[in-house]
Chain length 695, copies 2
């Protein structure tokens, strides 16, 4: 199973940053986003002389949290205190702001427990159990294809969810690992009363902004503190991470526990080529156009800036990350490595008669890419994010939820099973401020882009627009709807199909008018692309197990993973070695006074009291990816030594492969966190709570 | 030399729109943007029984015009009346508008000759002579490389220009054809007093807007009329195109005389791969971001819309055209065809010992792409359009012109030779309205993107921004400069180096501060990329001449070309046959009342009087590309039957290859033009002038 790393490295010549990643099979040193039930403790022990024990793993898992919106977090006190990134709580901070009080700009500190403020729509999930349900799922899928397979899968998933308990404080997800090679049922304890404790000013949390994003050296104070509540009281969290007394040092073994959102390392070459040649060329300019619109929108005035700054931040981040991924695929040597890797596995399959049933899977996936290509532009258009968010998102959800709730649980769309409806209802009823001018911008762009991509004469486009222009339609819907009122949404949800059918709200009527077309396309795409891809990918996963064994981490799936690595610098693109630590003093040196290199007054005032030599941010070799934001960095004692918030520029190709030489995780150092909370924000209450557990 | 078209067609299987283009060597039927001194009259005669004679060709050439800004046009009366597209004169229309009178929106008609209004910066060029100077140029290039070759080329070009006459009414350009295989000296008569006679409302000129752009069926009234003046009187234009009495019909032989801007059909596969994998992925999102900014900007108010609508139109057009070109290169079958084509030529070279000196040229160009890749992002950043336009463009020009004018003519940058300075001076002194908020948008984006692409720590970026943010720098420069005043520019130009050095204008100081860095990079790029590429491309051109002969049209170079073809429909992407003519009635049927499908009141009022059955737009097989906008479509008698304004969606890959089955030029029918001028705009004066020459 193992190959000689040295021998494959000789084919790695100079010139390409990412070229070596994929040549080494099955894994590079320290590569891996490991599930908690398959952690390579022996490999860690062999290399570092420390064996993460089962209790150690169980403790770390229980102290780790997932933020349903797409981040990671951890308990850092026994009273439900939660640490994550500022950029993971900024949506809540924005929602709690008003035209009179822009908390994104000023930051927020709850001086007393009474001042902790509920985030309108926030969910924290704590993983409590993993159960293998591969046989259950593969059993119902056997012999089925296309839509039939999808229906069987959804029914089984709904049944497994249901068997987990119907309590709203329990969440169960069927998790597909290795693209269908393994299915696990993940059971979570779910916290839905989550309150904001602390958020610094945006400018110091995101110091360096877009230019410094995905770069290192770095100087960000990207922390947000929350608290989980139960029964209107701070939740008891006996499993929490203690604060390390000494922090970390260069070369230290460190772990990152979090929820990496997704990787594509197991995809076939034809799927990667599809991403490179079809998906990125279509999607990158559309993302850039939205970015351009938001960039202009926020210059209109402080209210517009307040409304859209957070969206712009995420669009910038998404663009930069996607551009890096695209560049990795465009690197012919990197792509060649993926091709070699695939050829090697296919050769091994071809050489073993027992593996013959798997041999055709790659060609099947290549064939599916042609179908996918035919449907792709329409799928992207009709599946646009803008149909699923904001006022139109509410309308679509209300229309669909009303219809789906009339069906048996197992026959519904997966996002409307009884368990999922807990979230649906929470999101519909959360009193989130709506910025109607931003809504109008979003919908105008949506309608414009759909018409552009599908053509003015397309039947869906004609149904969508009628005789109106995108601007007119967006304006009519946004100005006429009352869905910005959470009570109206609650009423329509409670009223079900009758209420939705009787509603004259233009947004509801519009969502209803395009609902069937959108669902039909989705069903077609799932049947003709997703189902056969899943079936073929399952065979490839089994082929990989047969050839390389099962000590391989699965592609990330926004579920709990643990990675190990060390504090370590790297050589940058200009060939200069970059130290793994920056200092608080470096933050002040980088400050120009102009955005995004301006510091808030709190930091300028506190400067004299700060220990400028303390580490500010650090880089480690941990294998992470988006979704890991907010993950704790912990030492071998399980103590917090940092807070992940980014990766370096070389980490962007990590979607497709990990490069131990260059790929770095980027974290806020625990010493800077404490120094800032104490001397800049004077959060004695919280510092005391954290330090009570310090060791 | 010739290959059998039938035999190569059998390799063209279904599936790809553009796949067949490149398999046929050397040319498909009707492919070709021919120079007037190498027109394939015999081939036309053989196919259509009509031989364009030398007098016929000379007449058409002399009646054809080039608009220096990037369009084509023609004389259509002996009194200097010029026909082109609305989108070729819209810049002038915008410049003549005021906050009180938005001529882009209302249109413009000069009811009398006295009402014809001078376009502030407009130049029409009439080609009067072509002289082969290949020996002169190749002589001075022989044995030289890199910067030395560039200097020798520029000096020789300056000398040849100068030898042509120093009269400001003469313009001479050295034109490189076949990427250096042939050099010609083109001598033009230059008209710089050009006045606006007629422009319809934007909404009917660009009916269907971006969604319908590059599509057919189409219904645009995309015409603009100008008049060339000499000595403050209408210029005499004895060589003009007469108006055809009967228009055209399906299948008719038609010619298009114009100035196609540029094609890339002779590029090597490594150059095409560079465009596909490096240039498009970087440039498309940047263009899309600018589009998004302009889309938002124009929603701010009528003044912003007036300022930016034209820019947005061109950005949309550029984006759609570039996206089509990118898609052609991403089509693996199309790209495979280009690879086959190259392999075939290389095999022929390899098989003939006499051609041995040419054999390494392709590999040399492939090697150059690596150097190009290293320099490319910096070249794109520092060579950005925004450094060359608007207020900063003025400043850069003033700084450079002052320095260059101190040098001997042959040692200057090519854009500052004595002949070029005529244009430089005209552009600097033209009283063009400046929209400062749009300038600020442009510069903020420029500085942001340069920092994004090169990194915040890059030395050029640090020099450019100092401690300011992109927004701050743009605001300081734009609000502080006085370069919007043509008199100020004129004074600085007249004052030369002393005046520029003494100027405290922040835009001048900024342009001066970054000038050396930008020039140094340009020189490096030209020496290490352009010079060796030119040398290798010249050898490839000679190899192609040796293998295929010289009856091949050169890549387009925004110089006078003539193409032939027929009025013909095509099969669209859904497999439905599209008739080559639309009707005026169809325009009204497509009208929804909402932008971009709204008609101006003039057309709605005139509807009852119009012959709705008359052809509105038509499609032909002529091989054209951007730059051909405004070209006359003429019949075998040399009479006007249409006015080119676009191509269909399949024409977008035409940059890399022509597909006779699908590629179509799109024109306004001459009958609709006359009907509209007469019955919608009541332009009796002009209609009479046109009809006086009708036959």
């Amino acid at each position: 199973m193992k190959t000689n790393i040295q021998s494959t490295l000789v084919t790695c010549l100079a010139g390409s940053l990412l070229m070596c990643l994929a040549l080494i099979q099955p894994l590079q040193a320290e590569e891996g986003m490991w599930t908690f039930d398959n952690f390579p403790s022996k490999a860690v022990a062999a290399k570092y002389g420390f064996t993460p024990s089962q209790p150690w793993l169980d403790h770390v898992r229980a102290a780790s949290l997932r933020i349903a919106g797409g981040c990671s977090a951890s308990f850092i006190s026994p009273q439900g205190l939660v640490m994550t990134n500022h950029h993971c709580v900024v949506e809540c901070v924005e929602q709690l702001s008003t035209p009179q009080q822009n908390l994104v700009e000023t930051g927020f500190s709850a001086k007393t427990i009474a001042e902790e403020r509920k985030c309108p729509a926030f969910e924290l999930d704590q993983l409590v159990q993993i159960r293998d349900v591969t046989a259950d799922i593969q059993g119902v899928l056997a012999g089925k294809a296309g839509d039939e397979a999808n229906k069987a899968l959804h029914a089984k998933e709904a049944e497994l969810q249901q068997s987990c308990g119907s309590d709203a404080s329990v969440r169960c997800d069927v998790v597909s690992l290795y693209h269908g090679g393994v299915y696990d049922l993940y059971r979570y304890k779910r916290y839905t009363d989550v309150r904001l404790v602390f958020a610094p000013e945006f400018t110091v949390a995101q110091f360096g902004g877009d230019p410094d994003n995905f770069n290192f050296p770095r100087f960000d104070f990207d922390i947000g503190l929350l608290r989980a509540y139960e029964g209107d009281k701070p939740a008891a969290s006996p499993e929490f991470l203690r604060w390390g007394v000494n922090g970390s040092k260069d070369g230290d073994l460190v772990f990152v526990s979090g929820n990496p959102g997704g990787t594509s390392r197991e995809l076939t070459v034809s799927q990667l080529a599809f991403a490179r040649d079809t998906a990125f060329p279509l999607e990158m300019p559309e993302l850039a156009e939205y970015r351009g619109q938001l960039e202009q929108f926020i210059t209109r005035g402080p209210e517009q800036a307040r409304a859209a700054r957070e969206d712009l931040f995420f669009v910038e981040n998404d663009f930069k990350a996607s551009f890096g991924r695209q560049q990795a695929l465009l690197d012919t040597q990197f792509f060649g490595g993926k091709q070699q890797e695939e050829q090697k596995l296919r050769a091994a399959v071809a050489a073993d008669p027992k593996l013959a049933p798997f041999a055709s899977a790659w060609d099947e996936i290549a064939q599916i890419q042609r179908v996918r290509g035919q449907l792709f532009t329409r799928r992207v258009s009709l599946g646009s994010y803008f149909f699923q968010t904001g006022l139109l998102g509410y309308a679509v959800t209300l229309v669909r939820a009303a219809a789906e709730r009339t069906k048996p649980n197992g026959e519904r769309l997966p996002e409307y099973t009884d368990q999922s409806l807990v979230n649906v209802q929470q999101e519909l009823t959360a009193p989130i401020p709506i910025h109607k001018d931003l809504e109008e911008l979003n919908l105008t762009l949506l309608f414009t882009v759909v018409r552009r991509d599908l053509g003015a004469d397309d039947s869906f486009v004609r149904k969508m627009l009628g005789a109106e222009s995108p601007e007119q339609l967006a304006h009519r819907l946004v100005s006429g709807t009352h869905l910005e009122d959470a009570k109206v949404r609650e009423g329509l949800y409670a009223g079900g199909q009758g209420a939705v059918a009787a509603s004259a709200d233009p947004m509801i009527r519009f969502a209803a008018s395009i609902n069937e077309d959108r669902l039909a396309l989705r069903k077609d795409y799932e049947a003709r692309v997703e189902a056969p891809t899943r079936a073929a990918a399952e065979r490839i996963a089994n082929a990989r197990f047969a050839v390389y064994g099962t000590s391989v981490d699965p592609d990330a799936t926004f579920t709990a993973r643990l990675s190990y690595g060390t504090v370590k610098g790297f050589e940058n693109a200009e060939g200069r070695f970059v130290d793994p630590y920056t200092t608080i003093g470096g933050l002040f040196e980088r400050t120009t006074g102009a955005s995004p290199y301006a510091l808030p007054q709190t930091w300028l005032t506190a400067k004299a009291s700060l220990d400028l030599k303390l580490p500010m941010n650090l880089s480690t070799t941990n294998d992470i990816i988006g979704g890991n934001s907010g993950s704790p960095v912990i030492d071998r004692d399980g103590n917090v030594v940092g807070l992940i918030f980014d990766g370096n520029i070389f980490s962007l190709g990590g979607d497709y492969g990990y490069d131990a030489a260059k790929n770095r995780a980027v974290a806020v150092d625990s010493r800077a966190l404490l120094e800032g909370l104490q001397k800049v924000y004077h959060l004695d209450r919280i510092v005391g709570e954290i330090q009570a557990g310090r060791r």
